[in-house]
Subunit: 150 residues, 2 copies
Amino acid sequence: MTNEPNIGLLAFLVYRHMEQRVMAEVIAAGHQVTLSQARLFERVDDAGSRLTDLAESAQLTKQSAAYLVDELVAAGYLTRSPDPRDGRARLITITDKGREAIALARTVEARVEAEWKARLGEDGVEELRALLLRLREIVDPYWTGPKADE
Amino acid sequence: MTNEPNIGLLAFLVYRHMEQRVMAEVIAAGHQVTLSQARLFERVDDAGSRLTDLAESAQLTKQSAAYLVDELVAAGYLTRSPDPRDGRARLITITDKGREAIALARTVEARVEAEWKARLGEDGVEELRALLLRLREIVDPYWTGPKADE
DNA sequence: TATAATAGTCAGACTATCTGACTAAATCAC
DNA sequence: GTGATTTAGTCAGATAGTCTGACTATTATA
């Protein structure tokens, strides 16, 4: 494989590094979360998510998502409650313990990005973010246009 | 999760898109390869790789790597032969069928990057690649410095 | 040459994933 | 408004891919 590294692979290395740095500190802080759980967890909306939406967003089956949500509920990071607006649905929401983990993750993310700034410069990192954001529009099926994010 | 998307997550979306596009076409072309197999396969060196190196590069245990290599050998994409320079080791090399799959993957990668150029411009894509390459140096543990790649 | 390190395999367990079949509730079509 | 269809989620079972621990064979080292 002696090739000009393609952008997909380079992006993977960046993504994996960030994920590993965050996971390492989250686990070091005593949180008992697996990678699969974390990947689903980070998609839970502040206002609560439905299982079906979570599954779609994470590109998993509902069954797989339910399995991971069960574990995250048992570990105290999420709760399920009936959705008042739809008797079939249940709302999955983040607990205080879950928010603590998110806060820690945000801290680590900021620290890693700071390291990247030391390498690429403030301008370089912002240029990178801008380019990736524009790519997101054609690369992320859950992108619904500017501002429609929330 | 109503946050300024961090670069790690944005990089993930880009990586996943490329991977899915490539896998979809590789499978459509009749190759019977799973994602896990492909992720290992793409790390096999042109000159042949050792299992231990593959495992380390893909961040798997030797056992897991061996399991995937077994499948790729059975499917005709790889072969194993004794390493003439080390009686303990075996050299894992790419078959002609494996090279066909790689050629196809390269074609799809080029097509996807062309789409990205339509969005970001030629300059934008090259700027993105340049930034990711510089980040690679601090983000990829198997990076051994310029030119030492081979 | 005895000891330690390295390359890989064997055996067994477990996590995360899937497919298929199902229940209950909401929505749609008259 | 009732019957058919769609939607949200669960239950049961299978499987892929991953791990840990223990082992063999070969090479390198003291």
